[in-house]
């Protein structure tokens, strides 16, 4: 999806070595407990990567560090080769082109679907612009396109509190899309979804890879099997195994951690 100003963003990320995200030696501890322990992870440009791991493996903490919510004790996180994310604030990170979907669907419940996308839309986001500017045609087109992609065209003027759980998840993904990010971080996109909704979400995410790099954290194994090329297994704050789904599934270390599940 192209939105105004997309080229500016793309120029500023240096992914010439094929990698979009470099996580190296990352350690985060909370009161002595190491949520992340010397984590090393590389995400290729345009890749769709799934991250799995038992509860407490550090998946959400990792996302928190990437998006600037949590600061690491040690280690670096680079977006492209030129943006040190550990030194940036949440909104700056968002501006360089990283979008995040939360575990619990987080949309603006008192705004309509359209307004939700309007607020997320890639644009200048300072106070004065927000006070004085209204949407231009091109921006409306981008929003309409987004509505189409997430299948909520008919609900566009509905207050988003009235959407079903699955629709809220899609809306949140749509909000990421209109931000036009290089990297999407998606935390448990199919939790609480029906089978059909899960299938649609899988298609949606697969269609995004290539244009964007996508990192999905998920528990639901069937879902991961249906979308992933590469899977990374986290355990106790570091990478336990990485590779194709079948390889990972047959890895004895992984089987041990998951107790055969």
């Amino acid at each position: 999806m192209d939105s105004p100003g997309a080229h500016i963003k793309d120029d500023s990320i240096d992914a010439t070595h094929g990698c979009i995200l470099y996580i190296e030696g990352l350690t985060v501890s909370f009161d002595g407990f190491k949520a992340l322990n010397d984590l090393n992870l590389y995400i290729d440009d345009g890749e769709l990567r799934c991250i799995i791991g038992p509860n407490g493996a550090g998946k959400t903490t990792m996302m928190d560090v990437i998006t600037g919510k949590t600061r690491p004790d040690h280690g670096t996180v680079f977006f492209g080769q030129n943006h040190d994310l550990t030194k940036m604030t949440e909104y700056e990170i968002s501006h360089t082109g990283i979008g995040r979907k939360f575990q619990k669907p987080t949309v603006f419940l008192n705004h309509t679907v359209f307004e939700n996308l309007e607020l997320a839309l890639h644009a200048k986001k300072d106070v004065w612009q927000s006070l004085t500017r209204s949407l231009v045609g091109e921006q409306r087109d981008t929003i309409e396109e987004g509505l189409e992609t997430i299948g909520l065209k008919e609900q566009k003027n509905l207050r988003s509190a009235l959407l079903s759980h699955g629709q809220k998840q899609w809306l949140e993904i749509g909000m990421l899309l209109v931000q036009n990010p290089r990297l999407l971080l998606i935390d448990e996109p199919v939790a609480g979804m029906t089978h059909q909704e899960t299938e649609r979400t899988a298609e949606l995410l697969k269609s995004l890879a290539g244009k964007h790099s996508v990192v999905v954290v998920e528990h639901e194994m069937d879902f991961i099997r249906s979308i992933a090329n590469r899977v990374t297994v986290l355990h106790e704050g570091h990478v336990l195994a990485e590779g194709k789904m079948e390889e990972v599934q047959n890895d004895p270390k992984v089987i041990e951690v998951y107790l055969g599940s």
């Binding site: 998006t67 968002s94 309007e118 607020l119 986001k125 300072d126 927000s130």
Partner: protein, 368 residues
Amino acid sequence: MIKKIATLHSFKEWILTFILLGIALVLLPLLNLLVPEESVLHVPDYIFSLLGKYLCYALVALAVDLIWGYTGILSLGHGVFFSMGGYAMGMYLMRSIGKEGVYKSDLPDFMVFLDWKELPWYWYGFDYFAFTLLVILILPGLFAFTFGYFAFRSRIKGVYFAIITQAMTYALMLLFFRNNTGFGGNNGLTDFKRILGYSLQEPSTKLSLYIITIIVLFLSYLLSRYVVRSKLGRILTAIRDAESRVMFSGYNTLHYKLFVWTLSAFLCGIAGALYVPQVGIINPSEMQPSNSIEMAIWVAVGGRGTLSGALIGAGLVNGAKSWFTVAAPEYWLYFLGTLFIVLTLFFPKGLVGFFSRFFSKDKMREPS
């Protein structure tokens, strides 16, 4: 410009607005000036000072609604901004007394009483109305900006923010209670004689102040309405509902919160400045923690996040207060407390929220 303003209301809402303005600006003054005093239709002079006072409270409620109703930041310290505007105006009015005070001195009476020989430096300039106006327009906002910068930068929110605003207003009240601070101690500033050369006792001056207050309130309402209907307004409610999502969408929420916080204090300061000449006194009790809490109650009664609700709430609660404090003064606080409990339990969206469920087809925007 005019086109933009016209879209702030629907046609029906504009009609209603102009009817209300017509009653307040034309009908009431005419009934006062033209109808003889013995007629039932005559509007007595004192009504205008009373209404003027309510209108100032309505402006405060508007300010509180912007920060609390729309942005979800509960301030229990708006009495400070109100008092800053009020004291600035009070200082000008004190200086306008000239040598007509009890002690026939060039200094304000309370300074003579304290045996001060000259004017403290921070009173300089208040001989001039233009300077005073500047202080009224800048000081409350500037103070709020500084306070808000540190509070919001440290990501203080919710109950913690409410508590430190209470502490702020309490601390300033104690400071102003001291005689040495130089603002008249617990008596505050009073015994005003004139404003811009016009006697404050004259009915015509009172009427003029009342009309100015209406105009200021109307303009502030339009400004607030413009703000909340812009994209910025939608971002404010988004901050209220899901701040982290707003940040991850690329907005620096610090700037947005500071903007609306400062705007709110600015309006509140103006309200204080208009209040003082109409009521005739400003003292530190305006900064009592309970006063600032009452301001939040006005908004809660009318309905958070509706602007019109804030105006209605301020009018109703203060109308009730005026009636109670005459009819049954000892029961007023019980009534106010009961009102607040009943409202939060049964009408969490306030009166406007409650009634618009029946009358309006508009999509609701009140907090969920």
